[in-house]
Symmetry: C3
Subunit: 328 residues, 3 copies
């Protein structure tokens, strides 16, 4: 038990150091500040809305980056900063992660962050993606994802990193790690998070085919824990949170660490290599050319201005074009 506890602290320290203002990943300390009062909106124009109910010890974090909560470096930085602040805030014991944009939880990584960027910038972007996962997957807080819209790729990863997933039972929504369909590959820690949730066989099929699941299908394979009518999702998240907060924090955190530490350590110990792998892969001429053509296509056809990978799949015409591009 002591060993597990020490390990947990170690992760905490690593995470803390990585995002601290003097560390390798410096978050701009702007716009977000927790007010003394309760239940006040903590940011205005920010893409990350944080409401902390100090009495309950619960923060609700809402993503609001139109059009599809694409994970740009700016959004990632804001989100990591907000999560780290909640992590450090003693009064906070749990967080609900959800979207302020109707119909979309998050469309995943912002594709514009991957095209025509310097290696340094690409590395910074990838480090921020890693950081988001490390913070969420290893959080000391109870984390509940209220998936109130579609959630492909990186959006699905965020949900997978929480302790509990509630999804709106709307058959139009989809969730899954669909990277493969776009000709790219989910990194090993995306895969590990999926595998720990749905098991080896479902993960194998899911990743090879880049499957996007309806809420009913996602529930069936265990990708989400519960389905609720869309209008009740926030209330249900609060109920679930109350159940989880009835458990003593320290013991719950140690149990969480016992089950997640190995998976977290895998990335923590290979973080730089993982960044280099990403930068090398995404900088390849073939990949950049595909991205360029895709970006140009987006500019020409304003109707398809979707800045995030996952969205591509939802329009058959774009999907076909992408497939051709990726193959060429």
């Amino acid at each position: 038990m002591a060993a597990a506890m020490v390990a947990w602290r170690l992760v905490g320290r690593l995470v803390g150091r990585a995002v601290g203002p003097g560390g390798a990943f410096a978050c701009p300390l702007t716009r977000l500040a927790f007010p003394a009062g309760q239940r006040r909106r903590m940011s205005g124009a920010s893409p990350v809305l944080v409401e902390l109910d100090e009495r309950a010890g619960v923060a609700v974090v809402r993503l609001q980056q139109p059009p599809v909560n694409g994970l740009s470096l700016a959004l990632l930085t804001e989100l990591c900063l907000a999560l780290q602040k909640l992590e450090d805030r003693r009064a906070c014991r749990g967080l609900v992660l959800t979207s302020a944009i109707p119909g979309i939880f998050s469309a995943g990584l912002d594709i514009t962050e991957m095209f025509g960027r310097s290696e340094e910038r690409l590395g910074e972007f990838w480090r921020a993606v890693q950081q988001l996962w490390i913070l969420l997957y290893g959080s000391r807080l109870v984390t509940v994802a209220a998936v109130n819209g579609s959630s492909p790729a990186g959006g699905c990863l965020m949900a997978l990193s929480c302790d509990y997933r509630i999804m709106a039972d709307n058959p139009k929504y989809q969730i899954g790690l669909n990277e493969t369909r776009l000709g790219i590959v989910a990194p090993f820690w995306f895969k590990d998070a999926l595998l720990n949730t749905v098991g080896h066989r479902a993960a194998e099929r899911s990743l090879q085919l880049g499957l996007l699941y309806s809420p009913q299908e996602a529930f069936k394979i265990g990708l989400v824990d519960e389905l609720v009518p869309e209008e009740k999702i926030q209330a249900r998240a609060a109920e679930v949170m109350a159940q989880w907060l009835a458990i003593p924090d320290h013991a719950r955190q140690l149990s969480k660490s016992a089950l997640r530490k190995q998976t977290l350590d895998h990335l923590l110990m290979h973080r730089e290599a993982d960044i280099q792998d990403f930068v090398r892969f995404i900088s390849r001429d073939a990949i950049q050319k595909s991205l360029q053509k895709y970006m140009e296509m987006l500019k020409q056809k304003k109707a398809y201005q979707v800045v995030s990978i996952g969205r591509i799949l939802w329009n058959p015409r774009v999907r076909i074009m992408i497939r051709v591009l990726v193959r060429s």
Copy 2:
């Protein structure tokens, strides 16, 4: 195949050495002796009743330590001794583990063993808990748990360590590793045994929340293999045992080892460190103070004289008090 076989023998030797009279964990060789005849009760006042049917090659081991089969050092020692004897007995090929106390399989570790004890005694206690798991989880015998009552914490661990779990379908009964609710944490090998049974996701949720499942829920997640009406559980255990004994022992044992050896080795290779972790954790002032208050409360309120951790949960008033104590 040969490699697997050697490994199995190695485990056998390690186990044998550890419990042998000259080893680190000396069982008092008293009270239990196998008579030559068949189907005779093998012990009288002992908390461990063993009946060996030599013709069938099957032993039934019944726990009878009132009020709730709490795993005290005395009971653990008797049980390990009985299991080791059956392990060494050529005529014995299978064992059914069950309870002689109505409504309770086992309430798990005896909390009085953890309060106000010397470090030496705490270490001895924990070594006995380890030994029970090593013997059961790595047994060469077919092991069937006939879970005829509630089975929290260490009681659940015993069931998890068998090859097959049959539970009485009585909605009043509960089973699960609920340590987290009491502010303590299931050791890594409890976690591994659960994970190997219900998978990563169910284990994560189960351990973080310290869930106790009804028989129906336990069956649904695979924590038990089969539900039967309470009055038929022993007959059904005998039927299942006959099916398992139809398989050649040697091949079955090698297959079992192939799937359990890695998990067993994890503890066997870190056994002393695990004991030290336990002793250090349980000796902490905060933990001892909580235990003291709880013990005093038990003395004052005779109605709550339940000596074992798991039982606490079954009385809402006690649960609330404990939670307060743990937090203070």
Copy 3:
């Protein structure tokens, strides 16, 4: 991503070297040659029928080794050669593995290959069994098993090694790793392939009991992915293949490698030791005597001329005799 890609190539190279004509495992380069035209049967008297539809990029591989597609060294060699050729053929993107013999997919390893053979020959046989699994489990192709008959032991392994398993919904058919019932043990890589498909608990029970499942049972535990009426199995396999081929090959292959590489590496890194283990185990006097008696029995009772292990179970009389032999 780059790391995963390199790893994949490494496996490819290892596999390639192992089966190349100058390598340790030399396939006789006979009988099989791909014609230039499409949809022509690629071999005549061969036990391995290969039809490659170059336009679709899909090969159908049919086993036709009467009476039960027992995996003899000859069949293994032909099959490995065919698989390697398809692997190397750029026009081929997927393969359907099925049987040309009604009612039987494959009865698994040919028992006559294990009796009265020199150590060299036994080693050659086992290397071919390994090679088949390495090729199938690590194939760059989409692999769909159309299980159109019973599939015990090594037959089940072949199905487990594919990406997707469709089984004819005929209650007379059975599938499973039933080695334990015959007194032998599934090698660790059989176990790993099963574990990756049905999870730890189902694998433990399945292997300890040597369970053979009906199609419905196999579907329930996830051992097969889909059941179809027998007459529709080939059409359904083609449909499924088309779905899988809609995914970009490169990304699909990297995702497959990410989930299978560790399991493959386990054998690749212990291949020689695994061969030695097999040869030592099967050469033991007790095992050879059992095999001898069984072979003699087969000769005397022509009615039981089943050359492959799995088949034994389907006749109660033979099963009983075998059990006696194994025990003696």
